[in-house]
């Protein structure tokens, strides 16, 4: 007669990626490169915000951008026009980046000359939240037209990010978007989250956002 036995494993499936991500973070710390992982839904303004950020910071820092897209080069071309180093990562149908893919992207950017690297993750509020890329800090953009209920629908994403940019704030008059409600809902999920309303179109709030980046980069290089 067959005898069956149960072997307990109790191991998170993300364990291997988490180990790779921690390794990468340690290396970036040694190299004094601050890596920001930027996530959002498609079209919330990641690329437009990056262009603004580059314009504001490019005279004080060496910046490199990684554009993750399932299959196109459009965003990488837009970034290249600012004169900043950019690399396109094709995820080949994958809906998120993991630590290994991020490492490959960074090696293509030549990181020993960088102070700030930013990864534009695949446009998606679900999958990227579960895969640690090895970034120093995680950011997300929620744009006004997407609605103020997003923290209720995608709680995991709001709970793992360090900073939330609320973009397209110039258009708030056209939508019934309750800014206070979003702030309240996001803080319930994540009491330490920094929230900055911005408009990548008019430049509103970009100064505060650039200060956050300056400050985080400085702290990263200190400790």
């Amino acid at each position: 007669m067959d005898t069956f036995k149960t072997l307990e494993i109790k191991e998170s499936v993300f364990e291997n990626n988490n180990i790779q991500a921690d390794l990468l973070r340690d290396e970036l710390k040694q190299e004094k490169v601050f890596l920001l992982n930027l996530m959002s839904s498609p079209g919330s303004g990641k690329t437009t915000t990056l262009v603004r950020t580059i314009e504001t910071l490019k005279d004080e820092m060496n910046i490199g951008i990684m554009e993750a897209d399932i299959d196109s080069d459009v965003d990488a071309h837009t970034i290249a026009q600012t004169g900043t180093r950019v690399i396109q990562l094709h995820t080949g149908g994958m809906c998120h980046l993991d630590a290994d893919m991020t490492r490959q992207g960074l090696s293509g950017l030549n990181i020993d000359k960088l102070d700030l690297a930013i990864l534009e993750n695949v446009g998606n509020l679900v999958c990227p939240a579960e895969f640690d890329t090895g970034a120093s800090k995680n950011a997300m953009i929620l744009s006004v037209p997407e609605g103020d209920d997003k923290p209720l629908k995608y709680p995991l994403m709001f709970s793992i990010v360090d900073v939330l940019l609320i973009n397209k704030i110039d258009a708030i008059g056209f939508f019934d978007f309750d800014l206070e409600a979003v702030i309240h809902r996001a803080r319930k999920l994540n009491p330490n989250i920094t929230i900055i309303p911005i408009s990548a179109k008019t430049g509103e709030g970009i100064g505060e956002w650039a200060d956050w980046l300056r400050n985080q980069t400085r702290l990263w290089n200190q400790s």
Partner: protein
């Protein structure tokens, strides 16, 4: 869709455990997936045959247990599901709570001979 890559990771891990425990064959793999996870159980089941194809797990069954997105209300200490209740306690309408479960994606156990 990210399930296939992740399921291949699960399969590799289980093969490693099976080999180090000198198991002849594995009857069942049991996964636990939280309701807040981006892993969709039916997609996992759908790509599982491709992931085990040609491995020692070809005949192995896959079982998935769903763990609810449960939180405890800090005001009245009742436990409730945050997805079903839109992040608000159905007992006292409080919205200050701590998450108890729902984020996991775990290989719970394997059943083997």
């Amino acid at each position: 869709m990210h399930e296939l890559g992740v399921v291949i990771g699960v399969v590799n891990k289980v093969i490693q455990v099976a080999e180090s425990n000198q198991l002849q064959s594995v009857d069942t793999i049991v996964l636990q997936i939280g309701q807040l996870s981006s892993m969709i159980p039916s997609y996992i089941q759908a790509c599982y045959p491709a992931a085990v194809d040609g491995t020692m797990l070809e005949q192995t069954k896959l079982e998935i247990e769903i763990l609810p997105a449960n939180a405890m209300c800090k005001a009245c200490h009742q436990v409730f599901n945050i997805i079903e209740n839109r992040s608000q306690c159905p007992h006292c309408e409080g919205d200050d709570w701590g998450l108890l479960s729902g984020k996991e994606f775990i290989i719970k156990e394997i059943i083997a001979q």
